[in-house]
Amino acid sequence: MKKWITALCCALAAILLLFPLYILLINSLDVSHVLQMKYFLLSPSIDPLLSALFTDALYSTQFLNSFFLTIPVVAGHILFAVTSGFALARRSFKFSFVLTALYVAVLLLPSQVTILPNFILCKSIGILNTP
């Protein structure tokens, strides 16, 4: 009995989880060029996917840009987060709780707050437009 309830809950959660993905998939296979969301397709075609992947030059450029931007971002995150995380965990500084809380709290700041000062900062130390 309990197993059935678990299975039912899992199935319900899976359906809810997958439904938006299903809609995205269906509409990516649509070639009818009607501006309306569809919930099922009579004649799916794989052409839109193929053209986005192989013939659309802009898409591949954008994808590669995102891809290559991710690598230094992740590397930098790991470098700085691992070192300071290890230090914070192993050594109790005077204000280590306050520092930890501050580190987490500044994540919540909206990007408009820091984007302009950071731009000015990068300009003044001369790392702007240098890949």
């Binding site: 809950c9 899992c10 969301m37 070192t83 300071s84 500084f93 709780f97 930890t100």
Partner: protein, 282 residues
Amino acid sequence: MKSYSQKKFNRTLNLLFLPGFIGFCLFYVLPMFWSLMESTRVSLLDRSFAGLAHYQRIFQNKYFILAVRNNLLLLLYFTALCMLLGLFLAVIVHKSIRGNFLVLLVAPIFLPSSALSIVWKEAFLSQSALFRPYLEAFLPTRLLGVELSSLLLLMLWQNTGLITVLLSCALNSLDKDIIDAARMDGASSFRLLLSIKLPLIRPTLVFSSAFCIYRAFSSFREVYLLFGNYPPGNIYQVQNYMQNHFNKLNYAILSAAALSMTVIVFAVFFPLLSIGEWRKKR
């Protein structure tokens, strides 16, 4: 560690801590200071000292007040719903969870919001949407309004999976002996959950709610994608207010709003983190 004296080890730790701290000061503390200076100027052209005039102005502005109220309400609804739903799912599935299902649960966070917002617009928000009548008929979503409830649904859909995974991992890693002992003493499974398991996973609970708060404050991207620059009244957020002033180059007002927002964020966040006792007892 024996050949390594404690003092030397501590010095190494200080050195390790330094790069992160310098980055933090450079990219967060310095901009804050810049904002503070900017918020006391009259404008970008008139550099004379304005004192607290901008703060007075934004706190008399009814749209800013509305935005702060909306932000805190969204935070409350989202964190409560996400934690309850995640905990419910975690309690049900944590014994039978498998690797593949786990990946499925975390997947929504990696999907781009721009694609999802199109689905949400067509499925919930447009006048001819398939699910809009249900949102209008169901009492809680009718009270919240179709726009706010569909935004909440989008955020819940994205984040509940991760919360479920976090909590079920914490539940799985509990010591079996304690649970067996409680069961021997005749605790029912509800009682077991309430007085043994939940107190034991409290650090994870605090971390998950901190994550929920983070997502609630950074929901501006979804709001912008779904509703544009001027969303309906019950969704209008502080970030919309700031974005509109950013576009108009009102940096003084933007800075004043940002600093007020920072104070609010810290006021919400610090009490929560102190509950968690992140600092380990030695």
